[in-house]
């Protein structure tokens, strides 16, 4: 190794270590602050980082009787699981039809969906709210309502999955058809098993989105706290005027959400990379 190269490597390592510190520092602070005691110290923003005394006060509060944290957590988990399952099925169906079959109106359908996608999502919020209200799916029924909305429009997010299906050779289909398989069998027995990476990617992305959905979720729950998901509830904790008292609780609640979601993401990271890279190249 030349002298010059060694210096350049040293600089690279220094830069990478600096980047790592910047990237991890906020999470490090978040964790430290979640252990600050509410009893002996202050629960809001303070001017020091390391708690004087480590305690589990904030975590205990989350699971105390007066707090609905477990309900919110469960709500989000249910939404995330059901949405991940149904959305994946819808996306597979749409992608297969658009990738493998040629029918009248195919191009038209794709163009119309492309144009629809150019409207901002929140434009239709009020109308969706009234539609859900007509179906009795707001407030107390907000959980199925949110699932319905997420799944109903998910067909438009077919791009990455269809792009992947397009790369599977058509000769496979033809061979199976000669063997007497129908379209349904081809999809179910051949395409789906071959597309495991992209299916996992689709499900992962669908699973992670509800954990972040606070805008529409809070609009549909409309003050009915039993129907909140964690994002709505935590964001209310931070933004209500007495957020001072709830800041450390937000930290604790946020960590309990972040740990499983992050772990799942890290475990399936490879699929995620494959999905976003493929999606980026296809556009």
């Amino acid at each position: 190794m030349t002298h010059k190269k060694r210096i350049s490597h040293a600089i690279t390592y220094i830069v990478l270590i600096l980047i790592s510190i910047i990237w991890l520092f906020p999470f490090f602070c978040l964790i430290l602050q979640s252990f600050r005691s509410y009893q002996t110290e202050f629960g809001g923003l303070v001017n020091y980082l390391v708690p004087k005394q480590f305690s589990l006060d904030s975590y205990k509060y989350l699971f105390s009787d007066g707090c609905q944290y477990t309900t919110w957590y469960l709500n989000t988990l249910i939404i995330a699981c059901v949405v991940a399952l149904l959305q994946t099925i819808v996306v597979i169906c749409v992608s297969y039809a658009l990738s493998r079959m040629r029918f009248t109106g195919r191009k038209l359908l794709m163009n119309v969906w492309l144009v629809l996608g150019m409207f901002p999502g929140f434009l239709t919020m009020i109308c969706l709210y009234f539609l859900l209200k007509q179906l009795g799916l707001t407030q107390a029924g907000a959980i199925p309502g949110l699932i319905l909305i997420s799944v109903a429009s998910s067909g438009m997010g077919y791009y990455v999955c269809k792009g992947y299906f397009d790369t599977l050779p058509k000769s496979l289909d033809e061979a199976a058809r000669i063997d007497g398989a129908n379209r349904f069998q081809i999809l179910y027995q051949m395409i789906v098993p071959l597309s495991k990476p992209i299916i996992i990617y689709t499900a992962l992305v669908a699973f992670m989105a509800p954990w972040c959905d606070f805008v529409f979720a809070s609009y549909v729950a409309f003050g009915y706290s039993k129907s909140y998901n964690v994002a709505v509830a935590m964001q209310r904790w931070v933004w209500t005027n007495d957020y001072q008292g709830f800041f450390t609780r937000f930290c604790a609640g946020g960590i309990l959400v972040a740990i499983p979601v992050t772990a799942l993401f890290m475990a399936l990271q490879g699929y995620y990379v494959e999905g976003v890279t493929g999606g980026a190249v296809k556009g």
């Binding site: 790592s20 906020p26 602070c29 001017n47 067909g155 933004w239």
Partner: protein, 464 residues
């Protein structure tokens, strides 16, 4: 987009197609037997009599359902469609409250009824065609497809219909219908002072569009252009800073001889994995006036007074772009890592032999390749950033607010966050709808322009 024919020619095409189709329908009726002719009124009649039970029942059911909706339910709303209701809330002679017309439902169900009528026409046309085909097949002495085959085809040659039925219906009810509704709202005076069920709203023509483009007085024009300007500036920086810095980090990690590649990547990726409402909300509080950053800067004596990160317009805007790097660089790094590995190694080897240094190699090989491959991706990123609700809303909620801006807008508001505020805080639905249409126009124009100049779209083999 390759189709360069004029719109006039297309309209001409449409009418000649329509004429031919009507002639076809007429011929079917003239040459039809009694089964076909009765099917013109009672859909599915011919199919049922010819033994095509499945098709017949489907057609008949569709006709009954659509007619029931149109006449039993929709017509009552459709008749008020042009006024959106005339009878406001009042009191009956016996003192009870009479609710009168509900403009919201008149508009929504009116639209739905118009669509139902179009659907009925479409189903009717399919029905006529089926009859015509069946009659032709029988006349030629052939057998009609059996019911079993009809059903089975839904898993085979008609599998696309099975697959797409539910997604298309879902998108229709929860995306298409609401968008049409909101486009209509943009031409009404639906706002806080005209809220059903207690009040009526009505059509006002282009009034709201005039409002959003009128710069003087109480018009929304000044605010609109200010917010639009920041939206474009934000999208530009958020897209390209992330793009180049993300690529730089990827190149840094990809260098030969750098150890722990996986560790560096994993550390960066953590901001993608952690839900944004946790990470961004926390960071926004770190930079609050009484947050950690100010607290330590004060304590260590770097500053005398807290820095107004979120209350100063310029600081807030810069900080948002910087914090967005924290979220965005890892994403781009992941994508760039995969793509950089695809660049043929011998390109670099031959460049090295020609005496190129790393910087020259970056600008003559890496960058052109990346720009070529990721052109469409940059476009989607840019459009995604125009509508990047979460980052703005979790960090600042569009603050700092100002009396100089109308409609409750703040200096870091994007068009979408402003739209959200108008809907939720101000109940100013008409202006929210107008802004939604504006966002659509901006997105569509940018997409069309970029799409037409992108090298990778024009020429798929361009990079050699």
């Amino acid at each position: 987009m390759g189709d360069k024919r004029s719109i006039g020619a297309r309209i001409g095409d449409f009418f000649s197609w329509l004429g031919k189709d009507l002639a076809d329908i007429g011929r079917t009726f003239a040459e039809g037997d009694f089964r076909t002719r009765i099917s013109f009124l009672i859909m599915g009649f011919g199919q049922l009599l010819r033994g095509q039970i499945v098709r017949g029942i489907a057609m008949l059911a569709a006709e009954i359902a659509l007619l029931y909706y149109i006449f039993g339910f929709g017509a009552g709303y459709l008749k008020d469609f042009l006024t959106l209701g005339t009878k406001g809330r009042g009191f009956n002679p016996d003192g009870t409250v009479s609710y009168g017309d509900n403009s919201f439902f008149i508009l929504l169900y009116g639209i739905l009824t118009i669509i139902a009528i179009l659907m009925l026409l479409l189903v009717w046309r399919i029905n006529v065609k089926q009859n015509e085909e069946a009659q032709r097949l029988l006349a030629a002495g052939k057998k009609l497809p059996s019911n079993k085959k009809d059903l089975y085809s839904l898993l085979d040659e008609n599998f696309d219909k099975t697959l797409l039925a539910l997604p298309v219906i879902g998108i229709f009810v929860f995306t298409v219908l609401p968008i049409i509704f909101m486009i209509c709202v943009a031409f009404t005076n639906y706002d806080y002072n005209h809220q059903p069920p207690s009040q009526l709203f009505t059509w006002v023509g282009l009034e709201n569009f005039r409002n959003i483009l009128s710069v003087g007085g109480t018009g929304y024009g000044k605010t609109f252009f200010s917010v639009l300007g920041w939206t474009l500036v934000w999208a530009f920086f958020a897209t390209f800073l992330n793009y180049f810095l993300g690529m730089a980090v990827a190149i840094l990690i990809n260098q030969k001889g750098i150890k722990f590649k996986k560790l560096w990547r994993t550390i960066l990726v953590i901001t993608i994995a952690v839900p944004q409402f946790v990470s961004l909300l926390y960071v926004s509080k770190m930079f609050a006036a009484d947050g950690l950053v100010n607290a330590y800067l004060l304590k260590w004596g770097f500053i005398e007074r807290a820095i107004p990160f979120w209350t100063n317009k310029t600081y807030a805007r810069i900080l948002i772009i910087l914090i967005n790097l924290w979220i965005g660089i890892p994403y781009m790094m992941l994508i760039a890592t995969g793509l950089l590995m695809n660049i043929p190694e011998d390109l670099y080897e031959s460049a090295k032999i020609d005496g190129a240094n790393p910087v020259q190699m970056f600008f003559s090989i890496t960058l052109p390749y990346m720009l070529f491959v990721t052109g469409p991706f940059l476009l989607t990123q840019f459009i995604g950033n125009l509508n990047n609700f979460n980052v703005i809303f979790l960090l600042t909620q569009g603050q700092p607010q100002s009396m100089k801006l109308a409609g409750g807008a703040g200096y870091t508001d994007l068009l979408v966050t402003w739209l959200y505020k108008l809907t939720v805080t101000d109940s100013d639905y008409k202006m929210a709808a107008v802004i939604g249409i504006m966002v659509f126009l901006v997105t569509a124009v940018i997409s069309l322009v970029v799409y037409n100049v992108l090298p990778s779209v024009k020429d798929e083999e361009g990079f050699q």
